[in-house]
């Protein structure tokens, strides 16, 4: 009987070692995957920032924006705490603390928005391919709003009691829809211009490729095959051009304000053009390779 118990103990020990081994393997795999994903995401987001912000000014602004946003998050947390404390205690001291933290969070929020608008303006200036009149109009709007936000900051600095801080908050809430609309208008122009620029370069490349291949001697069979390939590529390029025209006209013709949902719609349409353009580049790759092989 005792022997049986001891063998059970041995089995238990072996099972335990299996369990430890399994846990180790699972832990290693999970750590590897999570670490890899986080690292890749960090790298990816870092890449995006570096690609988008090429000039010294825009790099300085993005760093300032990130620092201001972190500061805002801290003061937002302090504000919620002070407000909750005031609502619980209802004392003069807690009211004073809540008013001070409200002023602070409002000031930090204004700072975030000022740098954000400056960053949008810098990005729009750096963007090639945007329609010039629209670009200038949007830049003027951004400058005006930066001025309004700076004025709002002065109002906050002058607000010393609860009522004045409350009024500053009300005034600010009237600004927000306009700020958001201008931001999405700017972003729409930037993303459209990015695709438009690549499309224009692709059109030029395609024309050059056709020109180079027309100068090569080729068999009638190959010429016929190439003609069909050109036909497919022409149709695809024309379709992309039409889609881009439609998307561009959708933001120029709009009298209503752009918001997050309309911006998302623009991005969705552009993603389709982006995929088509990728397909067109695959076609061009094939055409270029065939021409090269034939020339050899």
């Amino acid at each position: 009987m005792k022997r049986l118990h001891l063998f059970e103990a041995v089995n238990l020990q072996i099972n335990k070692s299996h369990l430890i081994r399994s846990v180790l393997v699972v832990f290693s795999l999970v750590a590897l995957v999570v670490g890899g994903v986080v690292f890749a995401q960090d790298k990816a987001s870092e890449t995006i920032f570096l690609k988008r912000f090429k000039t010294e000014e825009s790099k300085r602004l993005i760093e300032l924006y990130q620092a201001n946003f972190e500061k805002y998050k801290t003061s937002e947390r302090d504000f919620y705490l002070a407000k909750a404390q005031y609502e619980q205690l209802y004392t003069l001291a807690s009211l004073e603390s809540a008013v001070v933290s409200t002023r602070q969070v409002m000031e930090d929020r204004a700072n975030v928005l000022i740098v954000y608008e400056e960053l949008l303006a810098a990005s729009l200036v750096d963007t090639t391919g945007a329609e010039l009149s629209m670009k200038q109009e949007t830049l003027a709007k951004l400058q005006k709003q930066i001025g309004e936000l700076k004025a709002h900051k002065e109002v906050i600095a002058a607000a010393h009691d609860r009522a004045a801080v409350y009024r500053a908050g009300i005034d600010f809430s009237l600004l927000v829809p306009e700020l958001s609309a201008t931001a999405y208008e700017t972003l729409s122009q930037i993303v459209i211009a990015d695709i438009q620029r690549v499309y224009d370069k692709t059109v030029t490349y395609y024309a050059d490729l056709k020109q180079a291949q027309s100068e090569m001697e080729t068999s009638p069979l190959k010429a016929e095959e190439r003609k069909r390939a050109y036909g497919e590529t022409d149709a695809l390029m024309a379709s992309i051009g039409e889609n881009l025209d439609l998307i561009r006209s959708s933001i120029t013709a709009k009298n209503q304000r752009l918001d997050h949902s309309s911006y998302t719609e623009i991005v969705r349409s552009l993603s389709s053009s982006h995929a088509q353009l990728s397909q067109a580049m695959d076609f061009l790759n094939e055409l270029e390779r065939d021409g090269r092989v034939e020339a050899q």
Binding site: L6, Q13, S45, E76, Y116, Y166, K201, V267
Partner: protein, 133 residues
């Protein structure tokens, strides 16, 4: 008084081995324990080996991953970004091929879903309430 003492210590000493014999049936357990310990010892050794092997594999994976990641991201981190082809690669590619590859890179960077400047997510209704509340 001394006669009344019926316990003879000499006798007791003489009987001592008998007592030992009574308790002796427990002794055969020793070889069994030893045997079990012998059986457990390789398991423990095996466990140690597995732990060491797992750590080595895990660390190797991390090193490989970090090398791959730093190798992949290094060319991009310059910002201006075009991966500089090695002289050998540049020799084998035609100008049209180079142009097409640049276009593809530009297209990847122009992905509209990768826009980092979305309107900041903040509390736009911050208020302590008016004095009338």
């Amino acid at each position: 008084m001394f006669k009344t003492d019926k316990y003879n210590q000499t006798e007791f000493s003489a009987e001592e081995p008998l007592y030992e014999k009574i308790s002796s049936p427990q002794k055969p357990a020793e070889p069994v324990i030893q045997k079990i310990e012998e059986e457990i010892a390789p398991v423990n050794n095996k466990k140690k080996k597995i732990i060491i092997a797992s750590i080595v594999i895990f660390v190797s994976f991390l090193i490989i991953l970090s090398i791959l990641m730093s190798g992949g991201g290094g060319t991009v981190s310059n910002g201006d970004a075009e991966p500089t082809p090695t002289p050998e690669a540049a020799d084998t590619r035609t100008p049209m091929q180079v142009r097409l590859e640049e276009l593809k890179t530009e297209l990847r960077d122009a992905d509209p879903n990768q826009q980092p400047l979305l309107f900041p997510a903040m509390d736009y209704d911050i208020s302590l309430g008016s004095t009338d509340d």
